[in-house]
Symmetry: C2
Subunit: 380 residues, 2 copies
Amino acid sequence: MPDVCANLVSKQFFTFAEPPHELVLESGERLGPVTIAYETLGVLAPDKDNAILVVHALTGDSHVAGCYTKDDARPGWWEIMVGPGKAIDTERYFVICANVLGGCMGSTGPSSLNPATGHPYGLTFPLLTIGDMVAAQKALVDHLGIARLLAVVGGSVGGMQVLAWCARYPEMVRAAIPLATTPRHSAQSIAFNEVARQAIMADPHWRGGDYYEQGAKPDLGLAVARMIGHITYLSNESMRKKFGRQLKSRDALSFHFDAGFEVESYLRYQGNKFVERFDANSFLYLTKAADYFDLDDYAAAGLSAAEISFLVVAFTSDWLYPTEQSRTLVRYLKRNGMDVSFCEIESDWGHDAFLLPNERLHSLVAAFLSRVFRERSADG
Amino acid sequence: MPDVCANLVSKQFFTFAEPPHELVLESGERLGPVTIAYETLGVLAPDKDNAILVVHALTGDSHVAGCYTKDDARPGWWEIMVGPGKAIDTERYFVICANVLGGCMGSTGPSSLNPATGHPYGLTFPLLTIGDMVAAQKALVDHLGIARLLAVVGGSVGGMQVLAWCARYPEMVRAAIPLATTPRHSAQSIAFNEVARQAIMADPHWRGGDYYEQGAKPDLGLAVARMIGHITYLSNESMRKKFGRQLKSRDALSFHFDAGFEVESYLRYQGNKFVERFDANSFLYLTKAADYFDLDDYAAAGLSAAEISFLVVAFTSDWLYPTEQSRTLVRYLKRNGMDVSFCEIESDWGHDAFLLPNERLHSLVAAFLSRVFRERSADG
């Protein structure tokens, strides 16, 4: 039995914003009731001052670490980072991870039943922002009775949520760790997301988002969307190392359109695997929220009054959110008087690097969290 | 009337490889008859020593410069480079440009009628290589009675054809100008092409390539494929300059899935425009040929015995075929004793830079061609 399975977790659900007290979204629309799926690890201290909120990236879920059952072989998505004795040490910290609003892993999203109609929302689900996702997480944190989080930690689109937390609820955040992220999408990042969305919407099984009660789902379109994403998550160098021009069959070129190169076969596999676990409409909503995110929109809101310690981390081969975008973020935070540590970590693994084993990342995060944990009573 | 329309051209057709003398492809398959659409500009000298073959990129055609009629407002795709007094000066050189084998602009390709069946080839068309395209061009050059080309010039996938010319028919090439190209695709380039192909094949109107005699074509899939390509043709920087995060409507975020950002609207426009002029199966065949291309496969064939002058040009912001790949090419050519000039041109415009006005590129090409033209009798 692998070691990870000693760490049992369970998915829990928190429902709020029952009408007429709906969640008011940044678009002005109202949404309710809202359910948030979440998991926790470790023990909340009596002072409730050891809580760390981990926020997931585009297609993640609440299952950050541990196992659902003792013989569950599939650990959480950040098992390498979260657990007893790890960088985010569950023997010391109380870790919360929630599926984002708009997702499809237990939290309310476009695939959820709209109680007003008895049918799935589909595209009648309102468009969300990163700020809306964070508002739903805040409701959960309130529900858990936590007045101030020791830290909010997340990579990629999770990093955007970290930033939105700091801007919207600065008094509730002691420390923030945005990893491999950006204060706003470049035109190129928007372009990749838009093409991925177009691939989904081009699938006739998408039916304007109204496919849940039909036989077929837009699996082919969603698989293409995922493949586009995958290219941007890996670096040129990591692809070269992983696949190069290796052919699937040992001998020569196949001269047909089947996957001939290893990299083709890898992408097809990733695309097909993804459609089993992810909802196409959620992909549309979450990518759109990421495209909409612009830290400037939240700037006036409060950051300048906050006392938050930041650890900003970028990775050398991340070409989706290149280091320069993290540097822009660091300059912005410093201009606003924040306490900021910044590190660019050497890695060949592209944007995905924050999800992979990296001693430097682990020791940075562990030391940073130890410091803020130590200092928590001083500024308490 | 614009100046370009003084330069009238017409599309011509050359048919060869009539059965039983079919063209034998690198796969071992036989194809015939083969028609090649081509255009010429300038006058072939009595000695036939002033001919320059321009080869086009992935989705180009034979219409390199000039106009079909005096009131034709749409000039050729390399009008800025080819014409009277231009870098490739049609007052001095005889310029030939042919649509590639496998294309859909007049040359035999998957959309052509298979004379054996009376129906379009579709996927019964044999898979091609860059070498096969060049073999068809060689038949045309032979037909025009030209024993040795003054130069072969082309960018991107055209650059691969330039290299294949030098490797397969070194005695027929005096000078070669491969621009913004690579000796072989990286895993990342293969990955982009594969996802584009998957987008086409995911379109139910593709019908396994057998859509020509049906009502609908796989337009949505082809548009997505083109959008993916477009992202790789532009640089991050050029996208930032062109679009940034500009919104289509003057006011705020639209909160729906229509094209909200300018870059989204641009990509949709490019995708939709492309399907009017291009055949989806040709896109599959031509991208596959590009993925298959590996200069090493032709290496033993003859380059080392050749006396060819090379001008290799890369562009700083080309991330599809980065400068390092041109450097690899230059090292390879020098190791084989070739006369090589290499220049990396500063440009923000990404891979597309070779198609855009650039004084440096124009003067380099003009000077290089003048030199080989001057030296032609010395080594003739």
